[in-house]
Amino acid sequence: MVQHDAIVKEFLQESLESIAQLEARILDLEDPSAGASSVDAIFRSVHSIKGVANHLEYLHLGALAHAGESLLSDLRDQRRVADVEVVDALLALVDGLRARLQTIAESGVDAGQDLGGLIHRLKDLRVPSGDETWAPVPQAEGPPDAQAPEPLSPEDVSPEAGEPASERTIATRVRVDVEVLTSVMNLVGELVLARNRLRQVSLRLGNDTMLDGVGRLDRITTELQDAVMSTRMQPVGTLWDRLPRMVRTAARTTGKQVRVHLEGGDTELDRTLIEAITDPLSHMVRNAVVHGLELPEERMRWGKPAEGTIALSAHHESGQVVIELRDDGGGLPVDSIRRRAVERGIWTEDKARTASDEQVWYLIFSPGFSTADQVTELAGRGVGMDVVRTHVEHIGGSVDVHSESGEGTTFRIRIPLTLAIISALVITCDGERFALPQDALKKLLVVRRSEAQEQLEDFHGVQVMRFEGGLLPIVCLDEVLQLDCSDDQDEEEQGDLFIIVVEARGRRYGLVADAIEDTQEIVVKSLDPLLRNLGLYTGATTLGDGSIALILDVMGLARAADIVATSDAIGLAMAAAEPAAEVAEEALLLTEVGGRRIAIPVAQIQRLEVIPAEQLEWGGSQHVVQFERDLLPMFSLAELLGLDGGGDWAGALQVVIARCGPHRVGLVVDEILDITHQAVDLKREGGGAGLRGSTVLDGRVTDLVDLALLLRGPVFKADPVSA
């Protein structure tokens, strides 16, 4: 790496950024509706590169920019039409500029591939005119000499000259090194941990003054965390920029006509996630062109416009970013996928016949499965969608697919907003602590060790347990990680076993641990490749007491325990078997609401918060609070249940943040009492809107809430608020 003057560095960075946006604009030229604004914008970028390049004596670069600028001025003055040839040449210009800028960034020298050919190509496309003012092209590898491209005018030297005022509003922005942001992020991470620790201590001491102070620290930390997070955010649009060109290339190679529709480019996402999603998304977009869309003739036969559409959109949804890729092609070829599944030995003939269309769609995510009858250079190399899925899951996301025959295919990628800080359940196994990402968590069950043997059954060599009318494969964390079982036999027989029902890629299994601690915000630290490649841990984190916990990879554990195939076999076996009703213990949060005891399943709870009433805002007809970059609808649990009391919305509100499908809501309760593990034996089922029934817990009548039922109406109503 060569040392650069600040000015050179700035020039290189700005130029690379500005040409990153050029491609999309150049492609706009082909669209007659786009108007002249694109030409102007492209012209300005190329012009300012030329000016500064000449000023800094990067004369080859300057000559190339000049050739491009001249062609662009023909376009701008409407002396030349932007046909395919021109667009191709302009795209080549972008590549040429980029390559040269990168060479300069790396070696500090304006040298490299001969630009003469490209310059002539641009020149040849110009409309011949009388007063040809071509600058002599410097010899590509020769030293810049007196034959400088053209005398510099003052206008050329200043990149801002001639630009409209709207492009000059840069003063409020500061360029910050990503390294600095990363270190600030790390420090905030430390602060979160210190806060967690202080909170633990202050809760134990129970001193009111201290609790007040800690509460304040708590809120500031959360706000600071959000603010710092926002500095790492980048619009998804940076990703959009490179797609139209790719689509164009793919469409040309395959003889298809494609219109690209992009939406939600200003949706923000952590930059590391944008990087991580770039390749998978590019792959999917190429696939959509190559495999998704039909050829123009075929489309006409089906009565569709010859030009196919590929629509990409991005939006926020309950703390996640959803990227949707839709094509209006023929949909997934369900029959040929079924056939191929049998050919490849992935499914039996029987399974292929009985499987639902949905199961068939998901087959395209299986390793080595390619739906294209023809392997092309663009896509369909047999490393398609399974690699995409692996990549997306690696960053904690998921991919869904939906297809309508003849209408098209829709892929939906869900990714977390950020990877840096996640909510996780801390569990213990053989004295070691592990963190389990909250996203994977479905339910917590408690089983007495003495009864565990009766509850667990053997299914083709894998332990399973009856759960919600099905069989749940069981994975013992200590077995799969080969932890030492130094406990003596007596201890083994006593106490409880915790079974954490987790879900990975649509398959559920139960993970057995010795104890469950609590849900925390953890700061994710990456692991060295040597450990990452084990496929068992997605990272590590430091806990409040300074100890280290490994973050478990839910899918990796399933793979290591070899239950993936079993889980599929169970699916088949269960289709025939009768549902069984077994009462398993469940973890419940006990609260006091309007003088009654209300229990909420812990699995439906994301976390507990204390939110001062002053932070409440009124959105539509609904109390809302700003929470982790979301507007969180707030409900009084008492009101929802039709109980007296509660709902005065004053002071420090005890809030249960709950998840209900894709939504998050805040439920205000009078008091949070305890978390208990109980086999719920309902004394009375139902008993009012949103209640599963009543039972007796610890000697008191307790109503068990079913949040999904309770919130169905209100959340639907509140939806416009969070939109």
């Binding site: 790390n186 692991l527 490749p529 084990l534 841990y537 100890s547 280290i548």
Partner: protein
């Protein structure tokens, strides 16, 4: 070995003296608890918390094929850092920062330890015996 380092940090492993170029050493730490990582390669002792930063601890005895450390031993660590990462090397005892005489360096071919040749960048004579210089970059490559 290109040019021998001016200053080295010495340490012992199984009663033998080794050294690293100080340029690659970030810090030297007394014994710290190490969080073991189930199913990790033998080389990896576990993870250490260095003021909030999580650093992988590598047992240099294992890396160099030396006999294992007694179970009750409390190894110290030498934290090395390069552009490709940070790793804590567990050693028996950290020695000093020394400036070996440029003439004390031995040609590498004459080294007695052949099988660890990859990791060893050079050797220099001291009154106490031959000190082997390890290559930080090679050690880190071992961990990736």
């Amino acid at each position: 070995m290109n040019t021998p380092p001016r200053q080295v940090c010495t340490f012992t492993l199984h009663d033998r003296v080794f050294a690293l170029d100080v340029a690659g050493v970030r810090s030297v730490l007394p014994w710290k608890p190490v969080r073991r990582v189930p199913l990790a390669p033998d080389l990896v002792e576990g993870l250490m918390n260095l003021r909030g930063e999580i650093v992988m601890a590598v047992d240099l005895r294992v890396a160099l094929g030396l006999p294992p450390r007694p179970p009750d031993a409390r190894p110290m660590s030498v934290v090395i850092a390069t552009e490709s990462g940070v790793v804590g090397l567990l050693v028996d005892q950290v020695g000093n920062v020394e400036e070996p005489d440029p003439d004390a360096w031995e040609p590498i071919a004459a080294l007695p330890v052949q099988r660890d040749g990859v990791l060893i960048a050079g050797a220099f004579k001291t009154p106490g015996g031959l000190v082997l210089l390890l290559d930080s970059a090679e050690l880190l490559a071992l961990c990736s």
